[in-house]
Amino acid sequence: MDKTHILSILVENESGVLTRVAGLFSARGFNIDSISVAKTLEKNESKIIITTSGDSYILEQITKQLNRLINVIKVQELTDEDSVVRQTVLVKVNADETTRADVFRIKDIFNGRIIDVSKNSYTLEVTGSEKKIESLIDVLKPMGIKDIVKAGTIAMPRSKKSS
């Protein structure tokens, strides 16, 4: 069964490493649903978070093929249960006299911030799980979304609870 998987890929920060990873996905016919890349604190290392979908066979193939790349140091699958997963979204939404108050309320409910204001629009910044972002969009849609930008998912394993 196809499922969404989050892969955390630690790579050496060589030039072209992102192309190698992305190229592998396209060459082998795997899809990338979202991708986010940034340096880690370690000198010369970056972390790539990729969300992809496929059954467990595909996931195993992706992991094995990624590990073949010389610049890939470690590949880890992160699951919703044992990791924290976040998306960030910027939404520019219609906000005139009649809807401004609603937008404000929604922002509070979703723990967001208003980061830009104009005469008839507000831009909201909200971070949360994928589900939360989806419901935010559902709620805002009727008011008229003018523009939307989502960042790739980021995730990290939860700390082990001592018990």
């Binding site: 192309t19 193939q61 094995k64 010389i70």
Partner: protein, 590 residues
Amino acid sequence: MKTETKRNEVQQAAGQRQSTSYAKKELMTGSRIIIESLIREGVDTIFGYPGGAVLNIYDELLNYKDKIRHILVRHEQGAAHAADGYSRASGKIGVALVTSGPGATNTITGIATAFMDSIPMVILTGQVPTNLIGNDAFQEADTVGITRPCTKHNYLVKDIKDLAKTIKEAFYIASTGRPGPVLIDIPKDITSSVTEFEYPADVELKGYNPTYFGHHVQISRMVNEILKAQRPLFYIGGGVILSNAGTELKEVAELLDIPVTSTLMGLGGFPSEHPLFFGMLGMHGTYPANMAISNADFIIAVGARFDDRVTGKVEEFGRDARFAHIDIDPSSIGKNVKIDIPVVGDVKSVLNSMLEMLNGKNKEIESGRYERLKWLEEINAWKYEHPLSYKMTDVIKPQFVIEKIYELTGGDAIICTEVGQSQMWTAQFYKFKNPRTLLTSGGLGTMGYGFPAAIGAQVARPDKTVFDIAGDGSIQMNIQELGTAVQFNLPVKIAIINNNFLGMIRQWQELFYDKRYSFSEMNVNPDFVKLAEAYGAVGLRATKPEEVEGVIKKALSVKKPVIMDFVVAREESVYPMVAPGAPITGMLLV
């Protein structure tokens, strides 16, 4: 006061260390660094072709004439295939050197060929100077971008300080783990600038750490299952040859009387005339090999990768069997067929561990022997039911030529092939005795591979007779290398199985397209005898069966490159044949 002196001593010692290591470091140009590094990697042969971006390197090569032999090819594809053939024949790393742009793009087919068959190679390409990269400069191509999907790894050297380290890493990556081609792209300014040369002793690669030793538990599960199996079978591939594991494989197979079948790439990994060997399996596999796969109860895949030309309809492959798979590349295991016992590791090392475990299990070994011998008998019955065969007529049959080449070389030659029918007949009718004696493009199926590969093999093994068995189509893809063979006195023997057709294409059109021979006839071929002579090689021709032996003997007796033009039956087909995607038991027989 005391601490003060102490510190001085330490400083002095450090100073001394520094000055001695300074004395070791010599200022060198990038070009010299490249060549000095190659020498430290044990390289004594380069296949190459000059051009603007590598002129500095070429100029320096002249100073190293006594240490490095440079073979000037006639086309850069030839350089890549020759380096590949050199590697396959010797087990060493083949090296090619070409210029930027068209020089680099001309090597792509050769690199992709080596990549598919896991051949260790280092390709050095020139690049435009660093300040022009990205400018669409003259003879600029994004070589690293183009070759990324067909190399094991590649580099663009942007700083001369990284040059030696990069070369060190490239040789290490090419030859370890699952081997493969590694490319280094070197801008021209790097070859002329100067730095201190020190060749690193080690490589440090955080993300690269191949597993050599198989997991003990997995190996012992595999051994136990073999001992319990009634119809075990070895399915061997190129990994046996790459890991030089022929001896160990033979020991295990003989100890347990386990029958062996091989892929095209594995031929030579087990002696073909051995009573436990039943030939190649797959699309043009032998009847006993394909029947054995389909009736085995335990299949041990050794350095093979379940290619679709081998498995046929994959769901039916080894339909009654459980599988163990020994491979150094974890991504090969479980890719096409579900594996019950995966063993990640070097084939040779894993087979050695198996032998150790089997030592002292005499009782278990003997208790299953009767069943295994019965199984062997069954396979032998298939072999006698449908042996490889062909009908002699008064025109030359291609299979007959291959048999004669085998007979007259005593199976001791290095045989390179092109691609097509002649390749398959070679796999079927030449009985390979030793590893590294069949050089063929299995994965990519590259027409034009065989002849330049034969040149590389002959350079690596001047003591050996080297053949290229070719179709009239394939040989014309790199025929220009005759010039190379003549210039460097490489007495390669080319046997053209001349049917005036792209034979394998014709065969598929006959079987699957109602004999509609769409553009597969080669109406115009050169006179290959005259062509050979024009290059200063020797040309011979046989048009009747009784001339074949004489022509081969003559070719073997001259110390020059020879083309033998065997004018053969035009519409002969390769059998057995399994239609693509059909179960491998569905063999069309002669």
